[in-house]
């Protein structure tokens, strides 16, 4: 009427919506790229940066790929403004996996943020860093996690717990034990929020390591109500699994009692045990329920087949011992506690917590206590629509197993109009399951209302449910039948125009329900059949007709009434055969055959006629199936009746009798009613996704096998202090565990990432003989020492012996090493130098590039390896050892027992004039110096295993050693990659001489013989964080001795000689393989720049490749500048090896084959001082990058 008014209103609403949009980010979303984003990102104003980042976010939301801005965005990670940080993190996590190399450059900023005083910044940095999902940085993330797991802020600890699964998702074997240990630490946290997150981490990292829970089971139960709701869900599940694995199933629980009752007294009632508290009507067990509870038992528990046998055996054999071994009772303290602590959760605000708590009761609680779960479950039927369905699905199973549980609350399952079809169907099923004699009238009344429902599918289901109820409760069978017949009358009298879908379904289903009821007791329902036959003409629906005809055929001989009706009805059917539909034709044929089979005498004649008539008609039917069937029936029946006509009576030959039964079997086949049966289904744990989708979803785990948790290990663990857990063997032996482990939590917190341990000697109060870790959690229980071994950090050792250094200086060493934290590997300078480059340019490794471009000649100098002999070290001086001299060297062979063992060749020489007896070398261990261990290594090792203390395989004793005799023994030592001197004792003539065995990291590897191509390939795989560089100066070749040699042999190529000197020095001190030597082709005689040596090796224990590249620069006659590069997946090992090589090259030792013990000592000193000066040159990569540029040009 007033269009202009409408227009005004429209524009008004537009205007008002515009007003609402002012100040929002709407314009950014609408036109995200209407301004150039790149300059905004580089802007110095935070607000412009924010705007740019928001625009990028809008583009991401719209599905655009904006990863090309990555470098500029990453640069902003250093911004102090939190909003910028947050937006950068969002962007970074979105693209980090796509741009791994660039993502690495943000690591340094994360490291910085991790030590920020603001807990929010720390938490965000940790979340972002752990979310990057790159294998390369996982060692750094692990260190950061370890640090954050001890953060004073519970929010940061919670984020750390959440980050554990992220690291676990990378599937790195070497991290597993460290992660498990962190999980254990966080589970012990005093803040409930952290415990919840730790529980989630536990579930994703080590769901089967339930012994971890065992230690603090009681405390976990007690904190359960305080944990946040999401954590509660997970924690409940874990505690349930623990209880089952530890104590077995509860004898009184529905799970066990119903099953055992059924098996031992199959004929008895469902409940032989006391009825539930409400005094409910108890329902007789249906055969299906027997199966159901058995299958519940089978399906809930892992590998339950053998377990079932056990329970059954124990029940039947009456072997109480076995029974109690498998089962526990509600009297068990842990079971009681868990039930007690989950009870309040039944009234939680969160429906899934309620269901999880109900699940615990379902599995553990006795039937008396099970009533507790009913009302809460009914209550959560009020939550969101999706969850209502889930709850109903669970109720469905509960009621199938124990119908009495929900029986009094049938009203709650009445269907309301807002329910979806699936929910209605479930409610119907539940109602028909829980119906009792007292409630069935109202339920049936309700069902009748449902038949009128607009949703006809549902009406069909309601009819089916009525049939089901009538079958289950014969008392109401009559009433049901009457209702159904009335329905059939009503429906068949309806005149549907054929358009209403589902209408016919109601009628068919009604007949089907009637059929099912009749089937139970055909004799008493004779009148019903007669009634149906009477109405046959009114029913037009072919399926319904066919069903009634089938009923007629099936029960044609019953009672008095029907046989009288049959001839008429059959005649009528034969008469209108051609006008029938296909289904009805089928049934008419079958029925007439059945009738003939049952007929006798006069009637038979009559029926034969009808049958023949029908067959004649059927033989010319349009449908081939009808034609075939007609012929088959003719063949079967006509031959018999021919016989009869000839002889006057049915001639029953033995052969014919066989045919007869065959015919009866074929024609009077039992039609199996196809109904939905839960018995064929597998049951899944309540509340799980698998339960809803009815197949095992990935990651679904049934309950653990009862009583499989090793008791022994557990008891020992529980006896220990809460924070201290360790290899129990060690506890007994060392006896100083609690002392060493309690003071290390925060004291050395900051030196976490450092890898230098220092060591003092001759100071009994503070001697460390070995690395010791008090925080082992998992090794003993898991039996996976191999896996945990690979993750350990290393301790670089001081080779020198400083007398009288106090523990203060030891701490100082630690402090200096902080700067060399792993974190600084990716230094800020390298980040910046990279950012100055063109974005998008692939970062190439300088060294490969140069070697690839330069024309180089390759020579092999394999023979050097043979001429070199490993250096010999002195273990026991003859002056101290009463004339016994013991030396050792690391041979190039390696242990044939285990790859973790390192061989040490030990020489015993008797320099005295007497015969020495009973010489043996034994392991001393760290036991006598607990304090030092804890001080120096406490924090460092908190991520490690105490079992990783170097150990010595016992050596064969030398019975006697005559004067001047020399014997050789091979010792096999498991160093666990520790580089501290191993304390040993040489026993000789019953006298003990303490000695120290100096490990050499060069022998923790074995040669890896590969060709250059595969070397470069491997090297390329180990880029980024796995690559470590250092430079050093090499002066050996201008030694006076060396120079003279050179002069003597002028023919020799100087470069070659330098090559030989370098490689023999390396090969003489490390068990590695020289892969190739690239020699520069240069006009200058003296120029050696470009000489490149490659060595290949792999770590003994883990077989991980460890590649070493030496790049020599300078002139032959001057000190050479060598840059050493190590590529190794194990960060710390690689760094240690690098340091060792650098120390070796820069030390002034002459050729190792001089075998000078004093010099060997001296070289150790040099190595130490070097290391203290600088461990890693932070900008090595950067400087190298700069150097390569001019060369390329």
């Amino acid at each position: 009427m007033f269009p202009q008014l409408g227009a005004t209103a429209e524009s008004l609403s537009k205007a008002s919506s515009l007003v609402f949009r002012i100040g929002t980010d709407a314009h950014l979303y609408d036109d995200p790229d209407d301004v150039s984003i790149a300059p905004l990102l580089d802007s110095s104003f935070d607000s412009e940066k924010v705007e740019a980042l928001k625009r990028l976010l809008a583009l991401i939301a719209q599905g655009e790929d904006v990863s090309n801005f990555f470098p500029q965005v990453v640069k902003n990670v250093a911004s102090p403004l939190l909003e910028v940080k947050k937006l950068v993190y969002l962007y970074l996590l979105h693209y980090a996996e796509k741009r791994p190399n660039e993502a690495l450059l943000s690591i340094n900023c994360f490291q910085k943020d991790l030590s920020d005083p603001n807990p929010l910044v720390r938490a965000w940095a940790l979340r972002a860093m752990s979310g990057i999902r790159l294998h390369v940085i996982s060692p750094l993330v692990l260190v950061a996690l370890g640090k954050c797991a001890k953060d004073p802020s519970s929010y940061v600890r919670k984020c750390a717990a959440n980050a554990l699964p992220k690291l676990n998702d990378l599937h790195q074997e070497e991290n597993v034990s460290a992660l498990e240990e962190l999980v254990g630490t966080l589970l012990n946290d005093h803040s409930p929020g952290v415990v919840g997150a730790a529980a989630a981490a536990f579930k994703s990292i080590c769901p089967n390591n339930l012994s971890l829970v065992g230690r603090s089971f009681r405390r976990l139960c007690e904190t359960l109500p305080d944990v946040d709701e999401w954590g509660q869900i997970v924690l409940i599940d874990i505690l349930l699994r623990y209880v089952i694995e530890r104590h077995g199933l509860v004898e009184e629980s529905i799970l066990v009692s119903s099953y055992t009752d059924e098996t031992s007294y199959p004929k008895k009632d469902f409940h032989s045990s006391p009825s539930s508290e409400n005094g409910l009507l108890l329902v007789e067990a249906e055969p299906s329920e027997t199966k159901l509870s058995a299958s519940m038992f089978r399906d809930y528990i892992q590998g339950s087949e053998e377990y079932l046998l056990k329970v059954m055996g124990s029940k039947r054999g009456g072997d109480n011992g076995l029974k109690t071994a498998v089962l526990t009772s509600t009297g068990n303290n842990d079971v009681k506690l868990l039930l007690q602590c989950t009870s309040p959760l039944l009234w939680s605000q969160n429906s899934s917590v309620v269901l999880a708590a109900a699940g615990v009761h379902w599995i553990l609680a006795s039937q008396m206590d099970l009533g507790r779960i009913v009302k809460p479950i009914l209550f959560i039927l009020r939550s969101s629509y999706a969850s209502r369905y889930v709850v109903l699905r669970n109720v469905q199973v509960f009621t199938k197993v124990l119908p009495s549980l929900f029986a009094p609350y049938y009203e709650d399952f009445y269907v309301s109009s807002s329910d979806s079809y699936q929910m209605r169907a479930l409610k119907l099923e539940i109602l028909s399951t829980i119906a009792t004699d007292s409630s069935i009238p109202s339920i049936l009344q309700e069902f009748q209302d449902y038949i009128k429902d607009p949703d006809r599918r549902f009406a069909v289901d309601a009819v089916a449910a009525i049939g089901l109820c009538a079958q289950k409760r014969p008392s109401v069978g009559k009433a049901c039948l009457e209702g159904l017949l009335a329905l059939i009358n009503q429906e068949s009298s309806m005149n549907y125009s054929g358009s209403l879908e589902g209408e016919a379904g109601v009628l068919v289903q009604a007949v089907m329900s009637v059929k099912a009821i009749i089937k139970q007791d055909p004799d008493s329902y004779e009148k019903v059949i007669a009634h149906l036959l009477h109405n046959l003409d009114k029913i037009k629906e072919p399926s319904a007709r066919a069903l009634i005809i089938w009923i007629m055929g099936e029960y044609n001989y019953i009672g008095q009434l029907i046989p009288k009706m049959i001839p008429v009805v059959l005649g009528h059917l034969a008469w209108c055969f051609t006008s029938e539909q296909l289904e009805a034709k089928h049934q008419t044929l079958n029925t007439s055959a059945k009738v003939v089979l049952h007929a006798q005498g006069e009637e038979l004649q009559h029926f034969m006629k009808i049958l023949r008539y029908i067959i004649e008609l059927a033989k010319v039917d349009l449908n081939y199936d009808i034609r075939d069937r007609a012929r088959m029936i003719e063949k079967f029946l006509m031959s018999q009746t021919m016989n009869y006509q000839e002889n006057g009576l049915l001639n029953v030959e033995p052969n014919d009798e066989l045919t007869n039964t065959l015919v009866k079997q074929i024609i009077c086949e039992r039609i199996q009613s196809v109904s939905y049966s839960i018995n064929n289904l597998r049951l899944y744990l309540p509340g799980s996704l698998s339960h809803i989708v009815l197949h095992a979803a990935p990651g679904y785990t049934p309950l653990p096998k009862p009583l499989t948790l090793a008791d022994m290990a557990l008891e020992k663990r529980m006896s220990l202090d809460g924070t201290v857990d360790s290899n129990s063997e060690y506890v007994t032996e060392a006896g100083m565990l609690s002392e060493s482990s309690t003071n290390d939590i925060y004291s050395d917190y900051d030196s976490e990432g450092s890898f230098i341990g220092s060591r003092e000697d001759d100071n009994p109060g503070s001697i460390s003989g070995s690395d010791y870790d008090s925080h082992n959690t998992s090794q003993a229980a898991n039996g996976t020492p191999d896996a945990s071994e690979t993750t350990e950090l290393f301790h670089l050792t001081d080779a020198s012996i400083h007398d009288g250094i106090t523990s203060q200086s030891a701490k100082k060493n630690n402090a200096t090493s902080e700067t060399n934290d792993l974190a600084s590997l990716m230094s800020k300078t390298s980040l910046e130098s990279w950012l100055n480059e063109q974005p998008g340019l692939p970062s190439m490794n300088p060294s490969t590039e140069t070697s690839g471009e330069r024309s180089s000649a390759r020579i092999s100098i394999n023979e050097i390896g043979i001429t070199v002999r490993p250096s010999v070290h002195i273990l026991l001086d003859p002056a101290n050892g009463n004339g016994l001299k013991v030396g050792y060297l690391f041979p190039s062979e390696f242990s044939n027992i285990s790859s973790f063992l390192v061989c040490v060749e030990v020489f015993f020489e008797n320099l005295s004039s007497e015969t020495l007896r009973n010489i043996i070398v034994r392991d001393e261990g760290p036991r006598e110096n607990p304090e030092f261990v804890s001080q120096a290594f406490g924090a460092l090792d908190s991520g490690l295993d105490p079992a990783n203390v170097p150990t010595l395989i016992p050596m064969e004793e030398i019975a006697s050693l005559g004067p001047g005799e020399v014997t050789k023994r091979i010792l096999q030592v498991r160093f666990h990659h520790h580089l501290l001197p191993l304390k040993l004792a040489v026993f000789c003539n019953e006298k003990r001489h303490p000695v120290k065995l100096q490990p050499d990291i060069g022998y923790f590897v074995r040669p890896l013989s590969i060709d250059v191509d595969s070397f470069t390939k491997k090297e390329n795989q180990l880029r980024g964080m796995f690559e470590y560089n250092r430079r050093c100066t090499f002066t050996d070749h201008i030694d006076p001795d060396g120079c003279e040699k050179d002069k003597n042999s002028l023919n020799d190529d100087k470069i070659l000689i330098v090559c030989q000197i370098i490689s023999s020095k390396i090969l003489g001190n490390a068990n590695i393989h020289l892969v190739s030597v690239d020699m520069p082709v240069s006009l200058k005689f003296d120029e050696i720049s470009g000489l490149c040596l490659r060595f290949g090796s792999e770590i003994l224990s883990s077989s991980k490749p460890c590649l070493i590249t030496l790049l020599v620069e300078g002139k032959c006659s001057e000190p050479l500048d060598i840059s050493v590069k190590v590529n190794c997946e194990e960060t710390v090992f690689g760094l240690n090896l690098l340091n060792r090589i650098v120390a070796l090259l820069s030390s002034n030792v002459t050729y190792p084959f001089l075998k000078d013990p004093i010099q060997a000592q001296g070289f150790g000193v040099a190595g130490t001082t070097q290391r203290l000066q600088s461990t890693v040159e932070p900008d090595a990569a950067a400087s190298q990058a700069e150097k390569t540029k001019p060369r390329r040009g």
């Binding site: 980010d25 709407a26 599905g63 979310g131 109009s417 209302d449 009128k452 799980s688 996704l689």
Partner: protein, 288 residues
């Protein structure tokens, strides 16, 4: 209206990380449940079998909080405030596991858009809705309350809201009748008081938790009468529709539940207390 929304396929796609992955997409939803009565669909992709109710509960929580922030939940609102939505989701979920879902804490971490902040951003050109400090409540064991709440007024209001669910069958009989009650407390109390609410007739309550349910005898239910006339020419209905009735009764708690007193401990001054009751229809169905 619906055509406009239907045109755009995906609205916002949020990927946090595997295994959790949340996406808001519009709107091929056939049946919109009354809880989320918008044309939005939440999808939570999981990679392994988890607790399915937990996921549902979490999605509801997300929808609640976002609509609380934006004053509704529809495509346009999400588009207009996409940054806040992103930030919220990032804060609510970490690696597929819920992180912070407490509305109070979230409000402190990410401030909701309001008129003042909008105007400020228009005027000054800069706005930050991300806080720079960690809310104290994350550390406390009472996550729903800030540690230092200060109100100018010293008042507390208790609302007893009851919803009546019932089914009346075609004969006019009450088949099922339930009352679902919520007690809403609007508190303007400073500090950390302890409040105890006691009822005159607690026996009426069947199940209590954070909420309560009551059941009332059938004869006490309110009676509603009405006539239904069919169009001329129709004799009878074969299929019977179900009618849903809506009503609202102010000032009465139908269940008869009465609040006795509200004790406030730990308070310097006794607060002003107010009480209201309201009954409204929940699912009140009349079958014909």
């Amino acid at each position: 209206m619906s055509t406009v929304i239907g045109a755009s396929a995906d609205l916002v796609l949020f990927t946090t990380n595997l295994p959790g992955f949340l996406s808001f997409s519009s709107p091929h939803r056939r049946r919109a449940g009354p809880r989320v009565n918008t044309m939005l669909q939440c999808i939570f992709v999981i990679s392994d079998s988890g607790n399915i109710l937990e996921l549902d509960e979490f999605l509801c929580r997300v929808a609640d909080i976002i609509s609380d922030y934006l004053g509704g939940l529809n495509e346009d609102l999400i588009k207009d405030n996409f940054v806040i939505v992103y930030e919220l989701l990032d804060e609510m979920m970490d690696n597929g596991f819920p992180l912070t879902t407490e509305p109070n804490i979230l409000r402190e971490m990410i401030s909701p858009p309001n008129i003042v902040s909008k105007m400020l951003s228009v005027v000054t050109g800069k706005s930050s809705n991300v806080t720079s400090t960690l809310p104290d409540a994350t550390q406390s064991c009472v996550p729903w309350r800030k540690t230092d709440v200060k109100h100018a007024t010293n008042e507390v209001y208790v609302d007893l809201v009851e919803e009546m669910d019932s089914i009346v069958n075609s004969d006019g009989n009450l088949v099922k009748c339930e009352i679902y009650g919520e007690i809403l407390v609007n508190s303007n109390l400073s500090g950390f008081p302890d409040l105890t609410l006691s009822f005159m007739n607690p026996a009426i309550l069947n199940d209590t938790c954070f909420w309560s349910i009551g059941r009332i005898p059938k004869d006490k239910a309110p009676s509603l009468t009405g006539n239904l006339t069919l169009e001329a020419g129709m004799d009878s209905l074969h299929i019977c529709p179900v009618f849903q009735a809506k009503f609202k009764i102010m000032g009465v708690a139908l269940s008869g539940l009465k609040i006795d007193k509200l004790d406030a401990m730990n308070m310097p001054n006794p607060p002003y207390k107010g009480f209201r009751a309201l009954t409204r229809s929940g699912e009140y169905e009349v079958r014909s």
